[in-house]
């Protein structure tokens, strides 16, 4: 068995769809919604624009990206054109670590919140932490290392509902987000 290495993992985030996206609190988004997924400030991928779904866009687009070993959250942002509609922070423990086996396909949904922290729609996605044979999967991630696959990922302590781990993670409390 190889030693677990300290470099990052590759994740496949499939952005499925979003629901009820509003512009300026009340106007439904008409078109051109897209989603940006960030695993750290330097690592992000974006879906294409959705042309037909309006405020209920769907993409079904698979984004392959690196997940730094220290990452606790990935951030998902829904945009309409150049405007930020809403953000959700997804705890890494929701799709990796704990009892979840590698390559498990997690279907996840989150509430999106706008810059003022107000509810604005829902995002549906699936996430898979790539296990063995992930070499072909990393598109432009750069330092994808195949050597660290094949073992359960130990980077994140399992969060077991009743107790919050001593690293002080507060799971997914929406934070004010601007850039």
């Amino acid at each position: 068995m190889e030693k677990p290495c300290n470099s990052s993992k590759v994740i496949e985030v499939t952005v499925i769809s979003a629901e009820g996206l509003l512009l300026n609190r009340k106007k439904p988004v008409k078109k051109n919604a897209c989603v940006v997924v960030r695993s750290d400030p330097f690592n992000s991928r974006s879906t294409g624009m959705d042309r037909e779904g309006g405020s209920y866009p769907s993409w079904n687009e698979k984004l392959v990206m690196e997940l730094p070993v220290r990452a606790r959250f990935i951030t998902v942002e829904a945009h309409s054109g150049s405007k930020l509609i809403g953000t959700a922070n997804i705890p890494v423990s929701d799709f990796a670590g704990g009892y979840l086996p590698e390559n498990y396909l997690s279907f996840l949904s989150y509430r999106l919140r706008n810059a003022n922290g107000e509810k604005n729609g829902i995002i549906n996605l699936s996430v898979k932490v790539k296990g063995e044979g992930a070499k072909s999967g990393c598109g432009g991630g750069g330092s994808c290392t195949a050597s660290c696959s094949g073992r359960p990922w130990t980077g994140v302590p399992p969060v077991d509902g009743s107790k919050v781990s001593d690293l002080g993670i507060v799971t997914g409390i929406p934070v004010r987000y601007r850039y």
Partner: protein
């Protein structure tokens, strides 16, 4: 009504193409007839005498309730129960601006010859501001009523062409005004797991719009032996495009009947006024579409007959099949009979709200005469069902909200009192463990489901890496007053992506309003305090008092949502029954 902008998106969506709603909860599983229940009775030698049917609805000359445009009708079908209550069987889609709609969405109904089954049909005009919402979530009180009609199922079935036309009338029954007619067509549901997924593309469509290009969509109908055709699905609208590619449509054998059965494929230009213009059409069976796909050739559309001579013209526009794959849509029984295991877990409410167990009015009172209390009754009745589906008869059993012998309150303790082993054997095992627990644990509180759910989720989660073919059902027997609803919701949301369903059985006469919130049947998805939203609906709530007054059988009540919850899990992950070789297509 003061809607801010006319939202046509709802009218442009695909219907009936079997789009799997991943993350939406429900999934397109047919209601009305429940395989799990049927299987239970058949295995006991009691043949359920019924035939699953599907109803196709159309209407003519509906009343116009919109000022600027025409009504946007949707039909809702109810079955009138013996006590006069209406049970909703299903809703059609909303058709925009149309007073003579032919709905695509079918309504499933179980035809039982030995009883009279009155059906009530309501037709509503759905306000444009609701068009983007799933029809299941619409509040019918907010919609304009266009009329109602009623008949009994056998009336439709005994007609030679299986169609019945009814006059729509007002709610009070006075049919002074002519509100139009509603036609119901019934067909036996062909149980088949075969389906085809087809991706259509068109080239060089005729431009029907003045200032922009056509906004094409396809409508596929099946011809019926008795004449005419029934629409089975339509694609989404591709805006402003004369060479559109549509998203794949999934047609089930139930929809197209046989590969040789001719289908009418019509290409329309979408028009917000509801007056969609036919661009061209053609007739092809699924078998012919398959050859079209293999040859990669196009087939010419034929223009609708027009002009003096009413001659049909072959157009330059062609339709192509970019992709055609045969698929198998496995049913709940396909999985179970292939050896997919269901595993039940039981948790019993030990909170003080049940009443002091020494007092005969307590739900936990153990009668020396041997008469069963509410919990014992529930365990016995429910036990018969779970023993049937859980072959190894080993049930993890917990209690919650009780004070342990060492004085602390536990929200998840082993019912048998053992410190390590929480499994008991058979229903007798649960009953024995329950009786001993009533003696060893004092009732306390508060009522928190979270820990029990987390424990069950742990077990279900651990199975992922070892047993792939297991699905868990946690049965919570409670008197119904949850102390911290949000805590429970958080646990449910966290478990919603695991092979787990939660069945809450309510005993006693408490107010079960909170349970209805957990059982997200009204279409609202549960949201945890951290902002995560339930991936699918995993909770079902069954009040025992409804079972006892005979509104439904225990089996029916318990297994009502299980097949669809189970299928939404396995289908979303493309898990196949165990006897099917993986990756066959």
């Amino acid at each position: 009504m003061g809607n801010f902008c006319s939202d046509v998106k709802g009218g442009q969506q695909a219907v009936g193409g079997g789009n799997q709603a991943i993350g939406g909860g429900g999934g397109g599983y047919s209601a009305g007839h429940n395989e799990a229940v049927d299987f239970f009775f058949r295995a006991k030698g009691e043949h359920a005498l019924f035939t699953p049917m599907e109803l196709s609805l159309s209407a003519t000359k509906l009343r116009d309730r919109d000022i600027m445009s025409k009504s946007d009708p949707m039909a809702v079908v109810y079955m009138k129960k013996r006590d006069g209550k209406l049970e909703e069987l299903g809703r059609t889609e909303v058709i925009m601006n149309n007073l003579d709609p032919t709905w695509i969405q079918k309504i499933n109904v179980t035809y039982q010859f030995e009883i009279v089954q009155p059906l009530i049909f309501h037709v509503y005009d759905v306000d444009t501001k609701y068009h983007n919402l799933p029809v299941k979530t619409l509040d019918l009180k907010d919609q304009d009523f266009l009329g109602e009609a009623s008949c009994v199922v056998s009336e439709i079935v005994t007609k030679r062409n299986r169609s019945l036309t009814l006059n729509l009338h007002n709610r009070d029954g006075r049919g002074l005004k002519n509100l139009g007619t509603l036609t119901v067509h019934a067909e036996e549901t062909v149980a088949s797991r075969n389906a085809v997924e087809i991706t259509f593309r068109c080239s060089a469509l005729v431009n029907k719009d003045l200032f922009s290009k056509s906004d094409p969509f396809l409508r596929i109908s099946r011809t019926v032996e008795t004449g005419g055709s029934i629409p089975i699905c339509k694609t989404e609208v591709v805006n402003n495009n004369l060479n559109p590619i549509w998203k794949p449509v999934c047609l089930t054998m139930q929809q197209f009947v046989s590969k040789e059965n001719p289908l009418v494929i019509e290409c329309f230009d979408f028009n917000t006024s509801g007056n969609h213009q036919l661009i061209g059409k053609l007739q092809k069976s699924v078998a012919e579409l398959e050859t079209l796909y293999q040859s990669k050739a196009g087939a010419n559309l034929i223009s609708p007959s027009s002009g003096f001579r009413r001659r049909e013209k072959v157009l330059k526009s062609e339709i192509f099949v970019d992709r055609l794959v045969e698929k198998q849509l496995y049913s709940f029984l396909d999985y179970i009979s292939s050896g997919f295991e269901l595993s039940f877990m039981v948790a019993v409410d030990f909170t003080a709200s049940n009443g002091d167990p020494r007092n005969p009015t307590s739900l936990h009172y153990i009668d020396p005469s041997g008469r069963l209390n509410a919990y014992q009754q529930a365990i016995l009745e429910v036990g018969e069902v779970i023993q049937f589906y859980d072959s190894d008869r080993h049930f993890p059993a917990w209690g919650f909200g009780g004070r342990t012998p060492n004085g602390s309150v536990s929200h998840c303790f082993n019912l048998n009192g053992s410190p390590s082993d929480f499994e008991v054997e058979g229903v007798e095992g649960i009953m024995a463990a329950y009786r001993s627990a009533i003696h060893n644990f004092a009732l306390a509180g508060p009522t928190l489901f979270g820990q029990v759910i987390n424990k069950a989720a742990d077990i279900a989660g651990h199975s992922l890496s070892s047993h792939h073919a297991k699905y868990y059902i946690l049965l919570i027997i409670t008197d119904g007053v949850v102390s911290d609803l949000q805590e429970t919701i958080n646990s449910v949301v966290r478990a919603s992506d695991l092979p787990l369903s939660i069945l809450i059985v309510g005993v006693g006469n408490a107010d079960f309003k909170e349970m209805e919130i957990l059982d997200a049947d009204n279409g609202d998805r549960l949201e945890s305090s951290s902002g995560r939203i339930a991936t699918r609906d995993i909770v079902q709530f069954v009040p025992m008092r409804e079972v006892h007054v005979g509104q439904m059988s225990v089996v029916q009540a318990l297994l009502e949502e299980l097949p669809s919850q189970f299928l939404s899990y396995v289908r979303g992950r493309d898990i196949k029954p165990l006897n099917v070789p993986p990756a066959s297509s």
